[in-house]
C-alpha cells in the first residue's frame, strides 16, 4: 500500500491546528471551573474558544530555530560592542542617562510581562490563546535578560545602573511603571490581555521602542539598537496577539463591548502616563534627536492608532476618550516632565541638565506653540542660576496622583499655566489625582487604588529609611536616609550632569583614544 498517496497534505493553518488546538481536551475528572478558576469573574462571556484565530503560527521547532538565530546575532554584537569600548562612541555621555532610565524603569516590566503571560497562558480555557500567551511569556524573559546583558557593560563604566532591580521596587518615579504593571497583573486575565496585549503592545509599544531604538541608533549606541530591534521582532507577534484578543472577545458576545471599551479607555491612559518618561527622553535626553515626542505621537498614535480604531468601529469600539486630553498635552508633556526631574535631580538615579542653546532652538522649532512661550524662559533662568552657583534642587516632596503616581505636574487641559488637581473623598480619606482620567479610573475601582504604595506617603510614614534608622535622632537627614534606602549613591548616581563622575570619566576615556597620554 502506498501510504504517501493516501496521506492528507496539511497546509499551514491545519498543521498548526493539530499541533496546538488538537492537544487540548474537555476534562471529566475535574470540573472546568476548578481548572480555570479565574475566567468568569470579570464578566466577559466566551461561548466558543474554537473561534479563536491564531495570530502567528509558529510551532516550537521553528520558534527555537529562529529565536536562536536572533540570539546568536544579538550576543555577537553585544560582545563586540563591549570588547571595542563601544560605549565611548555614543554622541556624548548625557545619552547614557536614557539607558539608565530604560534599565531601571522598563526592563523589570519585561520580567513582569513574562510572569503575567505565564499566568494568563495558564488560565485561559482555549488552547489557541494559551499557546500564544505562553510563547509571549517566553519572549518576555528574553527581553528582560537581553536588556540586562546588553546594558551590563554600561553598568561597568557608568553610575545609576548598579541597583536597577532594587530601585525599581522603591524609587519614587519608578513606582510609575511598577504600579502600571502591578495594576495589570492583579487584574483578571482578560483585563490583563487588553491592558498589556492590546493597549500597551498594540497601541503604545511603537511609541516606546521605535523612538527609543532609533534614538540609540542616532546616538551611536549599537548595543541598545540591536537588543531593541531584536526585541521588536518578537513584538510584531505580540501585537498581533493583542489585536486578536480584542477581536475575539468582541465577537463572542455583545455584552463584552462596554467592559472592553472601559478597559481600552483605562489602559490607553495608564500606558500614556507611563510614556511621559519616553516623551522626556526623546525631547531632552537624546543628544542627537530623532523625532519629537509630538511627532511620534502623531505618527504612531494619531495616524496608525486612528486606522486601528476605525477598523474596530465595526464592533462598536470608539477611540478612547482620553485621546482628546492627550492631544492637548502633546505640546507640553515632555517639557513639564523634564522640568520636574530637573527639580528633583537630587533624588533621581540619573543626571539632569539644562539643554544647550541649539537644543532649545530645536525644541522651539518642534514646539512652536509652547516652548518659547512657557518653557524656554524657565530653562534659561535655571541655567543662569546654576552659573551663579545656585543650581536649584527641590528639597520638598511632591504630591502624587493616587492612580498613575506621577507628581502633580500636569496642567489643566487647555491652560498650561495652571496645575491640574482633582480629588475624591472616599471612606474618610481624601485622594488626589492629576487628571479627570486618573480620577475616573480610581472611582471605578476605589478598593484597588487605595492600596497604592505611594512613595511620598511611604517616606512620610517612615517606611523608606534603612533598617535601624532613628528619625528622631540628632542631625537626622531624611533625604540622605531615603537615598540609602534606595541604594542611590549621593554625588555619583544623582545631581546635575555638569560635574558628574560620568561626564569626567567619559571625557578622560575618550581623550585616551584620541590623544597621546
Amino acid at each position: 500500500m502506498d501510504m504517501q498517496a493516501t496521506k492528507k497534505k496539511l497546509g499551514l493553518k491545519e498543521r498548526y491546528q493539530v499541533m496546538t488546538r488538537g492537544l487540548d481536551w474537555t476534562p471529566s475528572y475535574q470540573k472546568m471551573e476548578d481548572i480555570y478558576p479565574y475566567v468568569a469573574y470579570e464578566g466577559i462571556k466566551i461561548h466558543d474558544w474554537d473561534k479563536w484565530e491564531d495570530p502567528f503560527r509558529l510551532t516550537m521547532d521553528a520558534y527555537w530555530k529562529y529565536q536562536a538565530e536572533k540570539e546568536r546575532k544579538l550576543y555577537a554584537i553585544i560582545d563586540a560592542y563591549a570588547q571595542n569600548n563601544g560605549h565611548l562612541s555614543v554622541t556624548d555621555a548625557r545619552y547614557i542617562n536614557t539607558v539608565k532610565l530604560f534599565l531601571t524603569g522598563v526592563s523589570p516590566l519585561e520580567y513582569m510581562a513574562h510572569r503575567g503571560f505565564a499566568h494568563a497562558g495558564r488560565q485561559f480555557p482555549g488552547a489557541g490563546p494559551r499557546v500564544a500567551c505562553l510563547m509571549q511569556s517566553l519572549d518576555e524573559i528574553r527581553h528582560a535578560q537581553t536588556q540586562i546583558h546588553a546594558l551590563s557593560n554600561y553598568n561597568k563604566h557608568y553610575n545609576g545602573l548598579h541597583e536597577f532591580r532594587h530601585m525599581h521596587d522603591r524609587v519614587w518615579y519608578l513606582s510609575v511603571p511598577k504600579s502600571f504593571f502591578d495594576d495589570a497583573v492583579t487584574a483578571g486575565p482578560f483585563e490583563f490581555m487588553v491592558a498589556i496585549g492590546f493597549s500597551f503592545e498594540y497601541v503604545l509599544t511603537n511609541l516606546l521602542f521605535v523612538p527609543f531604538v532609533s534614538g540609540a541608533a542616532y546616538n551611536g549606541d549599537m548595543s541598545t539598537m540591536t537588543f531593541g530591534f531584536s526585541a521588536q521582532s518578537d513584538e510584531a507577534r505580540h501585537m498581533t496577539l493583542g489585536l486578536e484578543v480584542i477581536k475575539f472577545i468582541l465577537e463572542q458576545d455583545p455584552a463584552n463591548l462596554p467592559i472592553v471599551q472601559r478597559w481600552i479607555d483605562k489602559w490607553t491612559w495608564r500606558g500614556y502616563r507611563v510614556l511621559t518618561l519616553v516623551a522626556m527622553m526623546m525631547d531632552y535626553m537624546l543628544p542627537k534627536r530623532t523625532m519629537s515626542w509630538k511627532e511620534a505621537w502623531e505618527v504612531y498614535f494619531e495616524e496608525n492608532g486612528g486606522a486601528l480604531f476605525k477598523d474596530l468601529a465595526r464592533y462598536g469600539i470608539t477611540m478612547p476618550k482620553c485621546a482628546e486630553t492627550i492631544a492637548l498635552e502633546k505640546d507640553h508633556l515632555s517639557h513639564q516632565a523634564w522640568g520636574t526631574f530637573y527639580n528633583y535631580g537630587a533624588a533621581a538615579a540619573f543626571h539632569t541638565w539644562v539643554p544647550e542653546k541649539d537644543e532649545m532652538d530645536w525644541l522651539a522649532a518642534k514646539y512652536p506653540e509652547s516652548f518659547d512661550k512657557y518653557y524656554r524662559p524657565r530653562l534659561e533662568y535655571w541655567r543662569e542660576q546654576a552659573a551663579k552657583g545656585n543650581r536649584f534642587y527641590n528639597k520638598t516632596l511632591p504630591m502624587l496622583c493616587q492612580t498613575c503616581q506621577i507628581p502633580m505636574l500636569f496642567t489643566e487641559p487647555g491652560d498650561p499655566t495652571k496645575i491640574c488637581y482633582r480629588e475624591v473623598d472616599y471612606k474618610d480619606n481624601k485622594y488626589h489625582f492629576c487628571s479627570d482620567h486618573c480620577k475616573e479610573i480610581f472611582e471605578h475601582e476605589p478598593e484597588k487604588y487605595i492600596q497604592s504604595w505611594l512613595p511620598v506617603h511611604q517616606i512620610y510614614q517612615g517606611n523608606c529609611f534603612p533598617e535601624g534608622t532613628d528619625p528622631t535622632g540628632e542631625g537626622f537627614d531624611p533625604l540622605a536616609a531615603v537615598l540609602q534606602y534606595y541604594h542611590l549613591e549621593f554625588g555619583r548616581d544623582n545631581l546635575d550632569f555638569e560635574g558628574s563622575e560620568d561626564q569626567k570619566n567619559f571625557d578622560t576615556w575618550r581623550g585616551m583614544a584620541t590623544k597621546n597620554v
Binding site: P37, M60, Q83, H119, L138, R142, E163, R165, H168, M512
Partner: protein, 331 residues
C-alpha cells in the same frame, strides 16, 4: 578622524550589578546566567493584591508549603538563561529535523512492521495530551512559584513540553495520518488503559501549591514516564523488534529527559537540604505521586508489554527511588 576605541584600556568602576555582587561574594565578573537570574522577580512594595487571589501578594512565598530562607538557593545546573536555552534547543531541533528527514526520505516509516507501527501509535499518540498537560502545569509553576531561580526553568520546561507534544504529533502524522491523531485522542478520552493517567493529569491541574505541582509533574510523572516509554519501550523493546526508526523520531525526548532531570534533581536536593520540614514534605509528596503515577502508567505499558509490564514498571520505580535518594529524598 578615525578613533580607535579598542586601544583604550579602561579600569571599570564595577564588574557587575550590586545585587549580583552581593550573591557571588563581591564585585567580580558574573555570568550571563547570574545577571539574568538573580533577584529579577520583584519582592517588595507591591501596589495591589491580585483580584484573582486577594489572600496573596503578586509573588508570595505563602503559595507553597515549602519554606526557603532564600529562594535563590536554587541553581539551574544547565545555567539556562533564554539565550543559552534557545541555542541548546535549536541544536536539538536540528538533529530532530535531520532524523525526521532521514526516516521520511528513506521510507523507513512505511517499512516498519504493521504490528509494530500500531503499537507505537497506540502508546505515543495519546501522550501528546500528557505533554500538553505538562505545558500547562509548568506554566502554572512559573506563574505562581517564587523567585526567578525556581520559576525561570519552568517556562522553558513548559515550552519544551509543547515542543514534545508537537514532535509526537509529527510522529503520528508520519506513521499514520490526521485520523490517527483523532483515534489517539479518542483512546485518551475513553479507553480504560488511559483513564488512570488522564485522571492523574487532570488532578494535577487543580493543585494549588506550585512546589507540590513540580513534584507531581516534573519529579514523579516525568520521572517514571520518560524512562518507561522513551528509554525502555521505544529504545529497548521496540528497537529490538525492528523499530529503530521510531527511536530516531523520539531522540529529542530521550535527550531532553537526560538533560532536564539534572535540573529537577537539583531543585529537590536544594529544597530537601534546607530543612527537615521540607524533606518530610517532599518525601510525602513524592511517595504519593510516585505511587499514583506508577499505577497510572502500568496499563499504558501493558499495551506493548503483554507479559512483563509489571516487572518493567517495578524496575523503573526502583531506578526512580535510587535517583531520588541521591537527591536527598528517601522513599
Amino acid at each position: 578622524m578615525h578613533i580607535d576605541l579598542r586601544t583604550v584600556t579602561i579600569k571599570p568602576l564595577r564588574h557587575t550589578y550590586d545585587h549580583v555582587a552581593r550573591r557571588i561574594g563581591g564585585d567580580k565578573p558574573a555570568s550571563r546566567y547570574q545577571e539574568g537570574t538573580f533577584d529579577l522577580q520583584a519582592t517588595a512594595n507591591f501596589h495591589y493584591r491580585p483580584t484573582w487571589d486577594p489572600e496573596h501578594e503578586i509573588f508570595d512565598t505563602g503559595r507553597t508549603a515549602i519554606r526557603m530562607a532564600d529562594w535563590y538557593a536554587f541553581k539551574d545546573p544547565r545555567q539556562f538563561y533564554y539565550g543559552a536555552y534557545t541555542l541548546a534547543r535549536a541544536k536539538q531541533q536540528d538533529t530532530a529535523e535531520a532524523n525526521f528527514e532521514f526516516v521520511e526520505s528513506r521510507g523507513l516509516a512505511q517499512a516498519l512492521p504493521v504490528e509494530l507501527k500500531e503499537a507505537v501509535l497506540r502508546v505515543l499518540v495519546p501522550l501528546r495530551h500528557v505533554a500538553w498537560g505538562s505545558n500547562m502545569n509548568n506554566a502554572s509553576i512559573c506563574a505562581y512559584g517564587y523567585g526567578t531561580a525556581f520559576t525561570q526553568p519552568c517556562v522553558y520546561q513548559s515550552m519544551d513540553q509543547l515542543g514534545i507534544a508537537q514532535y509526537l504529533t509529527r510522529v503520528g502524522l508520519l506513521l499514520g495520518d490526521p485520523d490517527t491523531l483523532d483515534e489517539g485522542k479518542r483512546a485518551w478520552m475513553e479507553d480504560d488503559a488511559w483513564q488512570g493517567l488522564r485522571r492523574y493529569v487532570e488532578d494535577t491541574f487543580v493543585l494549588k501549591d506550585p512546589f507540590e505541582l513540580h513534584v507531581a509533574q516534573n519529579v514523579a510523572l516525568d520521572g517514571l514516564l520518560y524512562p518507561l516509554v522513551f528509554e525502555t519501550l521505544i529504545d529497548d523493546v521496540l528497537s529490538s523488534r525492528g523499530g529503530t526508526a521510531v527511536a530516531m523520531l523520539t531522540q529529542f525526548m530521550t535527550d531532553w529527559f537526560g538533560e532536564t532531570r539534572k535540573w529537577v534533581d537539583a531543585t529537590v536536593k536544594t529544597a530537601a537540604a534546607e530543612s527537615a520540614g521540607n524533606k518530610a514534605l517532599l518525601e510525602q509528596w513524592t511517595r504519593h505521586w510516585r505511587d499514583r503515577a506508577a499505577a497510572a502508567l502500568l496499563p499504558v505499558a501493558r499495551q506493548v508489554l503483554s507479559d512483563n509490564a509489571d516487572s518493567v514498571m517495578s524496575d523503573v520505580v526502583v531506578q526512580f527511588n535510587t535517583r531520588l535518594a541521591k537527591a536527598g529524598v528517601a522513599i
